[in-house]
Amino acid sequence: MIYDFFNILLPQGCLALFIFIQIMLAMFASPRLYKYSRLISAIGISLSICLLSTVQVEPQYFGMRGGIMSDGYTSLFHFIILLCGFFTVLLTKNIMNKCRQNAYTFHALLLTAIFGAMNVVSANDFLTLFISLELLSFPIYFLIASDKGYLSKEASFKYLITSAVSTGIFLFGVSYLYGITSSFNLSEIYNFISESEPSLLYSFAGIMIVLGLISKLSVFPFANWVIDVYKGSETSVLAFLSTVPKIAMIGIICRLLVFPLSNSFEITFVIAILSLITALWANTYAIRENNVKCILACSSSANASYILLTASLVSVYNLSTVIFYLICYAILDILAFGFLNAAESTKIGMRVEDFNGLFRQNKGLVISYVAGIIGLAGLPLTSGFIAKIYLFSAIANSGLIFIPVLLILMLLTVVALYYYLKIILPLFKECDKTYEVKILNAAYSQKFVLYITAIATVLIGIYPEKLIELCRFIAYNI
């Protein structure tokens, strides 16, 4: 057990240590020192990222009596999750000023959620997966509710109910799978399934499990929370919510689809249909939205559905595409929410009109933001363009029967371009002399996040080869 810890669990252990430190500080430290909580979290996550290098990835390692595994795939996902977590922590300045006494608690919860997300990806056992899933969900309820006002409480409650229902469905599916195979271990289940005849009951259990997992991705049957939650939460929480849980979920769903739930046509079919419905719903819903947060909520839902659709057509090529798209999307989303975070700290509203004419006074920040939105829309010189082409080519290569699906997705990206333009337009608007254009009062940490992500977006857009190679390497060795 202790060998397992030193072989693969050091990053998680480091995070656990810092969670403990934050809780202790929350109990004993003076509330006046709340500003240091952010620094402590940042140090914890950076240390954890450094410790990722100690993790054994080659060959695959199964630790904790087969409950947790480690390979290149999990390490890459851990790295992305930690990186997104790091950026989120840098964006938490506003909310710390809002909830001064609770700043330590807030960061303890944030770290716990990251800890949960890491374990979700590396779970090799449905029980580990379930516990990690709860570890991921529970802090998020409080994170959402941490903003002041009625809306955030409502949002938190909605998220709680959706998550509870989906967890129930997930457990239902797991119980069926246990009934068939009498095991919780993914490897054992895979061995059992690959030897036996495919049965409908098995597909049913698989569908239930995936349905339980996709609620965090805001895919169709559980998509309705996304608008309210995004409207009600603070932007740094959103930067977290739109990246870390989604990355973790995609990570585990891809692994499940490749590994124990493979060779089932029904599961692929159901996921494909659900993600298509989500893409249609999210993109059409966003047209009439006027709140930037809500538009980005729909966009995150739509992007998750593209990823899920590609992941459901299981192949190595598609898996590498999914990982690449996920990385690009996470960077772009943090960029977008980072800008909104800066706007929020300047007391700018979240309606589209509230951003009128910001370009004149804040050239650098606005250009970074526009690069992010252009990337989400999938226009060139940004990572979004490469990611979109790569994703579409993966779907096209999956077979000619997916051409109509692909055509629908492509036309939906045109709709998406419309609402992304709706976000960009007001920034460049010429305003009257009487209208006072605000100067965004962004802290250094916020500027750092914005510029770093913008540079990464453009760099990946111009030279994606290394990242694609990495994704392919990981996908081939799963």
């Binding site: 082409i389 096209a396 051409i403």
Partner: protein, 492 residues
Amino acid sequence: MDLLISIPFLVFLPMAVSFLIMSPLFSSNEIIIRRFTKGFCGFHFIYALFLLVFFDSANPYISRLSIFGLDWIQSLGVSFSFKIDGISMILSVLTSFIFLMAATASKINIRKNHKFYYSMLLLLMSAILGIFTANDMFLFFMFWELELIPAYFLIGGDYAGDYSPENKQSAVKYVLFTFAGSMFMLLGILLIHYFNYISSSAPSALFENIIMYSTPMKIQLLIACLLLAGFGVKLPIIPLHSWLPDAHTNAPTPVSMILAGVLLKTGAYGIFRFNYEMLKESFVIIAPILAVFALINIIYTAFVAYSQKDIKRIVAYSSISNMGLILLGLCALNTLGLKASVFHMIAHALVTAGLFMICGIVYLRYKTRNINALGGIAVQLPRLFGFSVLIILASIGVPAFAPFISEVLTIIAAMFSDMSLVIKICALGALPLLIVSSCYMLKFLHRAFMGEDLSLAKVNDISMHEFVVLGSITAGLIIFGIFPSVILNLIN
């Protein structure tokens, strides 16, 4: 040194300069930015001419000059590859020239936001040059999409001081139309890539590596239609044209010159590169249908142009009509048709840039584009009148001007096309174009320049900048009208 005489230098230099102008390090003084851009465009034109002089497909020196390739995304087989052949070379020089004219014309038309305007102008230049020189499908597509960003800001921005919400609407309309079209095109490109991968089992997206003849004909037709949906928006083919009059009307004059002068030609170039060269088998089947569309383009928009009140809209519709003629030349599927088509691209680019310039000059002086409110300009602006007569006569297709050659060549090529009777009938049907186009153009000349002087305002005749633009365009029209073989010999 190799890099300095290469195509990426030609393509990416404007982009680099665009970022330079955009950067906070560069001066924000209007005059410095304007002169710098103008000077750069002049340099670029000379550089393009220099490449043209050295360009010769028989010369071994050219093999270094005409191809440039690097790997870009290996897993997709996408390479960062450029290639110049005769048509690319001509269109690149044309692009460079039109941008030089537009940059010169910007002095009088652009009143604010200089920094943003000029950097977007150069970014657009880079994108268009990239479209004309790309040797890889995905690279082509990247430039095709890249062009949307600057074009959007150029059409929808507030530069001339007469901003209205319609500007933004027409910019959004333009972007959505093109983006929707390009999505169809992307699907076509992905299908080509997929089937090429099946037949040659090596992922490659280079134009010369694509082998499509082993693909089933139905698939080829599907791909051809998907691609045509993309190019048809840009060209435009008639049911997809409704973005064009709005975009041209609301854009500032230099941007209109660029839009009609070179941006529309990217559509024709795409049809040539993809449908005409790569999917030749299916193009043989599609060509008669396309010829009918071309005929509709020519006749219908000519009548629409005649009924317009806004002078910019007249010119915009006339350019749709002329693009139909270019399409007809391609549909003839013989060398003469191709030559005529490319020649008409150049002739029409010059004519339409000149016409938009005239509209811009008139609008600047009289603050109206309504043809009924204008009159008697000839008395007040005699020099403008002189140029207008020349350019309008050229656009009608009077001998000694370039469009005459290309129109006649197109009709002859279509008549002698051995593909299908439909194309010959279309060529016969296109002959009335000459009459209708002379009707609306002469109406423009007659109503606006002749007749009673309706305006009381005292205005100045054209300035030096305007003189240079109109003069060089007219010179080009006459030179190519008298020595068409300069261009025709470059196309094989």
